[in-house]
Protein backbone atom coordinates (compact mmCIF):
# COMPACT_ATOMS: atom_id res chain seq x y z
CA UNK A 1 0.00 0.00 0.00
CA UNK A 2 1.18 3.49 -0.88
CA UNK A 3 0.54 6.26 1.63
CA UNK A 4 -0.09 9.80 0.43
CA UNK A 5 0.46 12.06 3.42
CA UNK A 6 -2.58 14.26 3.92
CA UNK A 7 -1.55 17.30 5.96
CA UNK A 8 -4.08 19.80 4.61
CA UNK A 9 -1.66 21.26 2.15
CA UNK A 10 -3.32 21.88 -1.15
CA UNK A 11 -4.69 19.58 -3.74
CA UNK A 12 -3.92 15.86 -3.55
CA UNK A 13 -6.24 14.97 -6.40
CA UNK A 14 -3.64 15.05 -9.16
CA UNK A 15 -1.34 12.68 -7.26
CA UNK A 16 -4.28 10.36 -6.55
CA UNK A 17 -5.32 10.39 -10.21
CA UNK A 18 -1.76 9.67 -11.35
CA UNK A 19 -1.50 6.65 -9.04
CA UNK A 20 -4.90 5.41 -10.23
CA UNK A 21 -3.75 5.67 -13.86
CA UNK A 22 -0.77 3.48 -12.92
CA UNK A 23 -3.16 0.98 -11.33
CA UNK A 24 -1.84 1.51 -7.77
CA UNK A 25 -3.66 1.19 -4.50
CA UNK A 26 -3.12 4.12 -2.19
CA UNK A 27 -4.47 5.66 0.96
CA UNK A 28 -4.66 9.31 2.01
CA UNK A 29 -3.57 9.47 5.61
CA UNK A 30 -2.07 11.50 8.44
CA UNK A 31 -1.93 8.46 10.76
CA UNK A 32 1.71 7.73 11.79
CA UNK A 33 1.05 3.97 11.99
CA UNK A 34 -0.35 3.82 8.47
CA UNK A 35 2.50 5.97 7.15
CA UNK A 36 5.17 3.83 8.83
CA UNK A 37 3.67 0.57 7.57
CA UNK A 38 3.29 1.71 3.94
CA UNK A 39 5.58 0.30 1.26
CA UNK A 40 6.05 3.75 -0.32
CA UNK A 41 5.20 7.20 0.97
CA UNK A 42 4.41 10.31 -1.06
CA UNK A 43 4.60 13.79 0.48
CA UNK A 44 2.78 16.15 -1.89
CA UNK A 45 2.48 19.86 -1.33
CA UNK A 46 1.11 22.91 -3.04
CA UNK A 47 1.30 26.42 -1.69
CA UNK A 48 3.48 27.97 0.95
CA UNK A 49 6.47 26.17 2.55
CA UNK A 50 6.16 27.88 5.95
CA UNK A 51 2.48 26.95 6.13
CA UNK A 52 3.24 23.41 5.01
CA UNK A 53 5.84 23.05 7.78
CA UNK A 54 3.42 24.47 10.33
CA UNK A 55 0.74 21.99 9.25
CA UNK A 56 3.19 19.12 9.39
CA UNK A 57 4.34 20.08 12.91
CA UNK A 58 0.77 20.47 14.08
CA UNK A 59 -0.02 16.99 12.77
CA UNK A 60 3.03 15.71 14.67
CA UNK A 61 4.51 14.25 11.50
CA UNK A 62 8.02 15.75 11.33
CA UNK A 63 9.71 13.00 13.36
CA UNK A 64 7.46 10.37 11.80
CA UNK A 65 8.71 11.33 8.33
CA UNK A 66 12.34 11.31 9.48
CA UNK A 67 11.90 7.79 10.82
CA UNK A 68 10.46 6.28 7.60
CA UNK A 69 12.80 3.61 6.19
CA UNK A 70 10.81 2.83 3.03
CA UNK A 71 11.15 5.02 -0.09
CA UNK A 72 9.63 8.48 0.32
CA UNK A 73 8.94 10.91 -2.55
CA UNK A 74 8.37 14.60 -1.84
CA UNK A 75 6.81 16.57 -4.67
CA UNK A 76 7.22 20.35 -5.16
CA UNK A 77 6.62 22.02 -1.78
CA UNK A 78 6.65 18.49 -0.30
CA UNK A 79 10.25 18.26 -1.48
CA UNK A 80 11.13 21.79 -0.40
CA UNK A 81 10.13 21.13 3.21
CA UNK A 82 12.45 18.09 3.24
CA UNK A 83 15.36 20.55 2.71
CA UNK A 84 17.22 22.43 5.48
CA UNK A 85 15.30 25.70 5.30
CA UNK A 86 13.27 27.91 2.97
CA UNK A 87 13.23 31.63 2.24
CA UNK A 88 9.46 31.32 1.84
CA UNK A 89 8.33 32.53 5.26
CA UNK A 90 11.96 32.06 6.45
CA UNK A 91 11.23 28.67 7.93
CA UNK A 92 13.34 25.82 9.24
CA UNK A 93 12.44 22.66 7.36
CA UNK A 94 12.78 18.93 8.05
CA UNK A 95 16.47 18.91 7.11
CA UNK A 96 16.78 15.64 5.22
CA UNK A 97 18.28 17.14 2.05
CA UNK A 98 21.37 19.30 2.37
CA UNK A 99 19.78 22.07 0.32
CA UNK A 100 18.46 25.56 0.96
CA UNK A 101 15.29 26.78 -0.75
CA UNK A 102 15.67 30.24 -2.29
CA UNK A 103 13.44 32.63 -4.21
CA UNK A 104 13.90 33.28 -7.91
CA UNK A 105 14.53 37.01 -8.35
CA UNK A 106 12.19 38.18 -11.16
CA UNK A 107 13.78 40.01 -14.12
CA UNK A 108 12.48 40.45 -17.68
CA UNK A 109 14.33 37.20 -18.55
CA UNK A 110 13.42 35.41 -15.33
CA UNK A 111 9.65 35.05 -15.14
CA UNK A 112 8.39 34.03 -11.73
CA UNK A 113 6.75 31.60 -11.16
CA UNK A 114 8.99 29.32 -13.24
CA UNK A 115 6.06 27.74 -14.98
CA UNK A 116 6.01 25.20 -17.76
CA UNK A 117 8.10 22.42 -19.26
CA UNK A 118 11.85 22.51 -18.77
CA UNK A 119 14.59 20.01 -19.50
CA UNK A 120 16.35 18.10 -16.73
CA UNK A 121 19.90 16.77 -16.83
CA UNK A 122 22.64 15.11 -14.78
CA UNK A 123 20.24 12.31 -13.92
CA UNK A 124 20.90 9.71 -11.24
CA UNK A 125 20.31 6.12 -12.27
CA UNK A 126 17.55 4.85 -9.99
CA UNK A 127 14.71 7.38 -9.98
CA UNK A 128 15.58 8.18 -13.60
CA UNK A 129 16.29 4.59 -14.65
CA UNK A 130 16.58 4.17 -18.43
CA UNK A 131 16.02 7.88 -18.97
CA UNK A 132 18.15 10.23 -21.02
CA UNK A 133 18.97 13.78 -19.96
CA UNK A 134 17.24 16.61 -21.83
CA UNK A 135 13.69 15.35 -21.32
CA UNK A 136 11.04 17.86 -20.33
CA UNK A 137 9.05 17.82 -17.12
CA UNK A 138 6.47 20.25 -15.75
CA UNK A 139 7.45 22.86 -13.15
CA UNK A 140 5.41 25.46 -11.26
CA UNK A 141 7.34 27.19 -8.50
CA UNK A 142 8.72 30.51 -7.30
CA UNK A 143 11.32 29.05 -4.92
CA UNK A 144 14.06 26.57 -5.81
CA UNK A 145 16.31 24.16 -3.93
CA UNK A 146 20.01 24.99 -4.33
CA UNK A 147 22.51 22.50 -5.73
CA UNK A 148 24.07 20.27 -3.09
CA UNK A 149 25.64 16.83 -2.57
CA UNK A 150 22.13 15.28 -2.66
CA UNK A 151 21.27 16.67 -6.11
CA UNK A 152 20.26 13.87 -8.52
CA UNK A 153 18.86 16.01 -11.37
CA UNK A 154 19.42 19.61 -12.39
CA UNK A 155 17.45 22.23 -14.30
CA UNK A 156 18.19 25.80 -15.39
CA UNK A 157 15.76 28.73 -15.26
CA UNK A 158 17.02 32.04 -16.69
CA UNK A 159 20.64 31.09 -16.06
CA UNK A 160 20.03 29.85 -12.52
CA UNK A 161 20.82 26.15 -12.08
CA UNK A 162 18.95 24.41 -9.27
CA UNK A 163 18.14 20.92 -7.97
CA UNK A 164 15.28 19.43 -10.00
CA UNK A 165 15.50 16.30 -7.83
CA UNK A 166 17.21 15.34 -4.57
CA UNK A 167 18.03 12.06 -2.83
CA UNK A 168 19.27 11.24 0.65
CA UNK A 169 19.25 7.57 1.65
CA UNK A 170 15.62 6.41 1.12
CA UNK A 171 14.29 9.96 0.67
CA UNK A 172 13.65 11.34 -2.82
CA UNK A 173 12.18 14.62 -3.93
CA UNK A 174 11.28 16.30 -7.21
CA UNK A 175 10.77 20.03 -7.66
CA UNK A 176 8.76 19.28 -10.81
CA UNK A 177 5.39 17.53 -10.89
CA UNK A 178 5.81 13.96 -12.20
CA UNK A 179 2.02 13.55 -11.91
CA UNK A 180 1.59 16.31 -14.52
CA UNK A 181 4.60 15.55 -16.72
CA UNK A 182 2.98 13.31 -19.31
CA UNK A 183 4.61 9.99 -20.16
CA UNK A 184 8.03 11.06 -18.83
CA UNK A 185 6.46 11.82 -15.46
CA UNK A 186 4.66 8.49 -15.44
CA UNK A 187 7.96 6.71 -16.05
CA UNK A 188 9.53 8.53 -13.09
CA UNK A 189 6.61 7.56 -10.84
CA UNK A 190 6.87 3.96 -12.04
CA UNK A 191 10.60 4.00 -11.24
CA UNK A 192 9.88 5.30 -7.76
CA UNK A 193 7.20 2.68 -7.16
CA UNK A 194 9.65 -0.03 -8.29
CA UNK A 195 12.39 1.03 -5.82
Amino acid sequence: MIAIIDYKCGNLKSVENALSRLGCEYVLTSDPEVILSASKVILPGVGNAAEAMANLREAGLVDVIKSIRKPVLGICVGMQIMCRDSEEGNCECIGLFDSHVKRFIPTPECKVPHMGWNAIGNLEKKLFKDMKGGQYVYFVHSYYPTLCQDTIATCVHAGQMFSAALKYENFYGTQFHPEKSGDVGEQILRNFLAL
Binding site: G10, G47, T107, P108, N118, S181
Partner: protein, 251 residues
Protein backbone atom coordinates in the same frame (compact mmCIF):
# COMPACT_ATOMS: atom_id res chain seq x y z
CA UNK B 1 15.38 27.25 -20.56
CA UNK B 2 11.67 26.81 -20.05
CA UNK B 3 10.07 25.70 -23.31
CA UNK B 4 7.49 27.83 -25.12
CA UNK B 5 4.11 26.19 -24.56
CA UNK B 6 1.49 25.25 -27.11
CA UNK B 7 -1.99 25.18 -25.63
CA UNK B 8 -5.10 23.99 -27.45
CA UNK B 9 -8.23 25.66 -26.13
CA UNK B 10 -11.48 23.76 -25.98
CA UNK B 11 -14.75 25.68 -25.63
CA UNK B 12 -17.21 23.33 -23.99
CA UNK B 13 -20.98 23.35 -24.08
CA UNK B 14 -22.89 20.46 -22.50
CA UNK B 15 -19.83 18.21 -22.56
CA UNK B 16 -19.09 18.85 -26.24
CA UNK B 17 -16.30 20.93 -27.67
CA UNK B 18 -17.69 23.70 -29.86
CA UNK B 19 -16.05 26.37 -31.95
CA UNK B 20 -17.47 29.66 -33.06
CA UNK B 21 -16.04 32.67 -34.81
CA UNK B 22 -15.90 35.79 -32.64
CA UNK B 23 -18.25 33.95 -30.27
CA UNK B 24 -21.08 33.99 -32.83
CA UNK B 25 -22.43 30.80 -34.36
CA UNK B 26 -21.28 27.53 -32.74
CA UNK B 27 -20.31 24.24 -34.28
CA UNK B 28 -19.77 20.99 -32.36
CA UNK B 29 -16.33 19.55 -33.00
CA UNK B 30 -15.99 16.61 -30.60
CA UNK B 31 -16.04 15.01 -27.15
CA UNK B 32 -14.18 17.08 -24.56
CA UNK B 33 -12.31 14.25 -22.81
CA UNK B 34 -11.40 12.42 -26.02
CA UNK B 35 -10.15 15.56 -27.71
CA UNK B 36 -8.09 16.53 -24.66
CA UNK B 37 -6.54 13.09 -24.54
CA UNK B 38 -5.71 13.20 -28.23
CA UNK B 39 -4.07 16.63 -27.95
CA UNK B 40 -2.09 15.49 -24.93
CA UNK B 41 -0.80 12.43 -26.81
CA UNK B 42 0.09 14.64 -29.78
CA UNK B 43 2.30 16.82 -27.58
CA UNK B 44 0.12 19.68 -26.29
CA UNK B 45 1.86 21.22 -23.27
CA UNK B 46 -1.32 22.16 -21.45
CA UNK B 47 -5.02 22.31 -22.17
CA UNK B 48 -7.57 25.02 -21.51
CA UNK B 49 -11.23 24.13 -21.16
CA UNK B 50 -13.69 27.02 -21.22
CA UNK B 51 -17.24 26.46 -20.11
CA UNK B 52 -19.49 28.49 -22.36
CA UNK B 53 -22.75 27.02 -21.04
CA UNK B 54 -25.09 29.73 -19.96
CA UNK B 55 -27.32 27.57 -17.78
CA UNK B 56 -27.02 26.06 -14.31
CA UNK B 57 -27.46 22.59 -15.76
CA UNK B 58 -24.60 23.25 -18.14
CA UNK B 59 -22.38 24.38 -15.24
CA UNK B 60 -23.08 21.16 -13.34
CA UNK B 61 -22.25 19.07 -16.41
CA UNK B 62 -18.99 20.99 -16.68
CA UNK B 63 -17.90 20.29 -13.08
CA UNK B 64 -18.51 16.58 -13.63
CA UNK B 65 -16.56 16.81 -16.87
CA UNK B 66 -13.59 18.41 -15.06
CA UNK B 67 -13.40 15.34 -12.80
CA UNK B 68 -13.28 13.01 -15.79
CA UNK B 69 -10.63 15.16 -17.49
CA UNK B 70 -8.48 15.08 -14.33
CA UNK B 71 -8.68 11.30 -14.20
CA UNK B 72 -7.58 10.82 -17.80
CA UNK B 73 -5.21 13.68 -18.68
CA UNK B 74 -1.59 13.56 -17.43
CA UNK B 75 -0.62 17.15 -18.32
CA UNK B 76 -1.79 20.37 -16.66
CA UNK B 77 -5.13 21.85 -17.58
CA UNK B 78 -6.87 25.13 -16.88
CA UNK B 79 -10.60 25.62 -16.63
CA UNK B 80 -12.50 28.84 -17.08
CA UNK B 81 -15.87 30.31 -17.83
CA UNK B 82 -18.34 31.66 -15.33
CA UNK B 83 -16.02 31.51 -12.29
CA UNK B 84 -17.08 34.40 -10.07
CA UNK B 85 -16.57 33.32 -6.46
CA UNK B 86 -13.97 31.62 -4.28
CA UNK B 87 -16.47 28.74 -3.93
CA UNK B 88 -16.53 28.25 -7.71
CA UNK B 89 -12.73 28.10 -7.63
CA UNK B 90 -12.71 25.63 -4.73
CA UNK B 91 -15.16 23.32 -6.48
CA UNK B 92 -13.02 23.20 -9.60
CA UNK B 93 -9.86 22.62 -7.57
CA UNK B 94 -11.58 19.73 -5.79
CA UNK B 95 -12.65 18.35 -9.15
CA UNK B 96 -8.97 18.23 -10.13
CA UNK B 97 -8.30 21.38 -12.17
CA UNK B 98 -4.68 22.57 -12.07
CA UNK B 99 -5.56 26.21 -12.71
CA UNK B 100 -8.62 28.36 -13.15
CA UNK B 101 -8.94 31.37 -15.38
CA UNK B 102 -11.02 34.37 -14.41
CA UNK B 103 -12.12 37.14 -16.73
CA UNK B 104 -15.22 39.35 -16.30
CA UNK B 105 -15.68 38.47 -12.64
CA UNK B 106 -12.17 39.76 -11.86
CA UNK B 107 -12.90 43.03 -13.64
CA UNK B 108 -16.06 43.41 -11.58
CA UNK B 109 -14.33 42.42 -8.34
CA UNK B 110 -10.51 42.40 -8.59
CA UNK B 111 -10.20 41.12 -5.01
CA UNK B 112 -11.31 37.72 -6.37
CA UNK B 113 -7.74 37.29 -7.70
CA UNK B 114 -6.26 38.01 -4.27
CA UNK B 115 -8.64 35.69 -2.49
CA UNK B 116 -8.02 32.77 -4.86
CA UNK B 117 -4.23 33.34 -4.84
CA UNK B 118 -4.12 33.59 -1.05
CA UNK B 119 -6.01 30.35 -0.64
CA UNK B 120 -4.57 28.22 -3.43
CA UNK B 121 -1.44 30.03 -4.63
CA UNK B 122 -0.66 32.16 -7.66
CA UNK B 123 -0.01 29.10 -9.82
CA UNK B 124 -3.73 28.31 -9.59
CA UNK B 125 -5.06 31.56 -11.04
CA UNK B 126 -4.78 32.84 -14.60
CA UNK B 127 -6.28 36.23 -15.40
CA UNK B 128 -7.76 36.32 -18.89
CA UNK B 129 -8.11 39.70 -20.57
CA UNK B 130 -10.14 40.18 -23.75
CA UNK B 131 -9.06 43.57 -25.04
CA UNK B 132 -9.64 45.62 -28.15
CA UNK B 133 -8.26 48.87 -29.46
CA UNK B 134 -10.68 51.69 -28.63
CA UNK B 135 -9.69 55.28 -29.48
CA UNK B 136 -6.02 54.33 -29.66
CA UNK B 137 -5.96 52.45 -26.36
CA UNK B 138 -6.15 48.73 -25.57
CA UNK B 139 -9.24 48.43 -23.38
CA UNK B 140 -10.44 45.28 -21.59
CA UNK B 141 -13.88 44.13 -22.66
CA UNK B 142 -16.44 41.60 -21.45
CA UNK B 143 -19.12 39.51 -23.17
CA UNK B 144 -16.95 38.32 -26.01
CA UNK B 145 -15.58 41.77 -26.74
CA UNK B 146 -18.94 43.48 -27.09
CA UNK B 147 -18.97 45.39 -23.79
CA UNK B 148 -16.06 47.78 -23.18
CA UNK B 149 -14.87 48.45 -19.62
CA UNK B 150 -12.83 51.29 -18.16
CA UNK B 151 -9.86 48.96 -17.63
CA UNK B 152 -6.82 49.58 -19.81
CA UNK B 153 -4.91 46.40 -20.77
CA UNK B 154 -1.44 47.22 -19.41
CA UNK B 155 -2.51 48.68 -16.09
CA UNK B 156 -5.09 45.96 -15.54
CA UNK B 157 -2.57 43.19 -16.31
CA UNK B 158 -0.09 44.75 -13.88
CA UNK B 159 -2.77 45.08 -11.23
CA UNK B 160 -3.77 41.43 -11.73
CA UNK B 161 -0.11 40.41 -11.32
CA UNK B 162 0.24 42.51 -8.15
CA UNK B 163 -2.94 40.97 -6.77
CA UNK B 164 -1.49 37.49 -7.22
CA UNK B 165 -2.31 36.21 -10.70
CA UNK B 166 0.20 33.59 -11.88
CA UNK B 167 -0.29 34.19 -15.61
CA UNK B 168 -1.99 36.57 -18.01
CA UNK B 169 -3.96 35.21 -20.96
CA UNK B 170 -4.40 38.13 -23.36
CA UNK B 171 -6.74 37.82 -26.33
CA UNK B 172 -7.01 40.63 -28.84
CA UNK B 173 -10.69 40.74 -29.77
CA UNK B 174 -9.66 42.66 -32.89
CA UNK B 175 -7.67 39.61 -34.04
CA UNK B 176 -9.58 36.67 -32.56
CA UNK B 177 -11.11 34.52 -35.27
CA UNK B 178 -9.46 36.44 -38.10
CA UNK B 179 -6.54 34.02 -38.66
CA UNK B 180 -4.49 37.05 -39.64
CA UNK B 181 -1.91 36.82 -36.83
CA UNK B 182 -1.33 38.36 -33.43
CA UNK B 183 -0.54 42.01 -32.53
CA UNK B 184 3.11 41.16 -31.72
CA UNK B 185 4.25 44.63 -30.66
CA UNK B 186 1.50 44.80 -28.07
CA UNK B 187 2.44 41.35 -26.76
CA UNK B 188 6.12 42.30 -26.53
CA UNK B 189 5.29 45.47 -24.59
CA UNK B 190 2.96 43.53 -22.29
CA UNK B 191 5.55 40.80 -21.64
CA UNK B 192 8.23 43.39 -20.88
CA UNK B 193 5.95 45.14 -18.41
CA UNK B 194 5.18 41.97 -16.39
CA UNK B 195 7.20 39.43 -14.42
CA UNK B 196 4.64 36.61 -14.83
CA UNK B 197 4.16 34.51 -17.99
CA UNK B 198 1.89 35.75 -20.78
CA UNK B 199 -0.18 33.45 -22.98
CA UNK B 200 -1.08 34.76 -26.44
CA UNK B 201 -4.51 33.91 -27.80
CA UNK B 202 -6.66 34.71 -30.80
CA UNK B 203 -5.56 35.24 -34.35
CA UNK B 204 -3.36 32.31 -35.30
CA UNK B 205 -3.84 31.23 -38.90
CA UNK B 206 -0.50 29.57 -39.61
CA UNK B 207 2.78 28.43 -38.07
CA UNK B 208 4.46 31.75 -38.89
CA UNK B 209 1.94 33.66 -36.77
CA UNK B 210 2.64 31.45 -33.77
CA UNK B 211 6.43 31.65 -34.30
CA UNK B 212 6.14 35.46 -34.46
CA UNK B 213 4.20 35.86 -31.23
CA UNK B 214 6.63 33.56 -29.38
CA UNK B 215 9.70 35.47 -30.64
CA UNK B 216 8.84 39.07 -31.67
CA UNK B 217 5.87 39.06 -29.28
CA UNK B 218 7.98 37.48 -26.47
CA UNK B 219 4.95 35.44 -25.35
CA UNK B 220 5.60 32.43 -23.13
CA UNK B 221 2.84 30.35 -24.65
CA UNK B 222 0.42 30.35 -27.55
CA UNK B 223 -3.16 29.24 -27.24
CA UNK B 224 -5.29 28.36 -30.24
CA UNK B 225 -8.49 26.53 -31.02
CA UNK B 226 -9.72 26.29 -34.56
CA UNK B 227 -6.40 25.62 -36.30
CA UNK B 228 -6.07 22.50 -34.13
CA UNK B 229 -9.73 21.43 -34.08
CA UNK B 230 -10.03 21.43 -37.83
CA UNK B 231 -6.66 19.78 -38.33
CA UNK B 232 -5.25 22.74 -40.25
CA UNK B 233 -2.01 22.39 -38.29
CA UNK B 234 -1.17 19.32 -36.23
CA UNK B 235 0.64 19.86 -32.95
CA UNK B 236 3.66 17.68 -33.89
CA UNK B 237 4.04 19.58 -37.20
CA UNK B 238 3.72 22.92 -35.48
CA UNK B 239 6.27 22.05 -32.80
CA UNK B 240 8.65 20.53 -35.34
CA UNK B 241 8.55 23.71 -37.41
CA UNK B 242 8.99 25.93 -34.36
CA UNK B 243 11.99 23.86 -33.27
CA UNK B 244 13.54 24.12 -36.73
CA UNK B 245 13.26 27.91 -36.40
CA UNK B 246 15.30 27.74 -33.20
CA UNK B 247 12.36 28.14 -30.82
CA UNK B 248 12.64 25.91 -27.76
CA UNK B 249 9.64 23.58 -27.54
CA UNK B 250 9.06 20.24 -25.85
CA UNK B 251 9.13 17.48 -28.46
Amino acid sequence: MVAKRIIPCLDVKDGQVVKGINFLGLKEVGDAVEMGKRYSLEGADELVYLDISATREGRKTFAALVERIAEVINIPFTVGGGISTLDDASRLLDAGADKISVNSAAIKDPSLIERVAAKYGSQFIVTAIDARMIDGKWMATTHGGSVPTDRELFSWAKEAQDRGAGEILFTSMDHDGTKAGYPCETYAALCDSLSIPVIASGGAGNVGHIADVLTLGKADAALAASIFHYGEISIPDLKGQLRSQGIEVRL
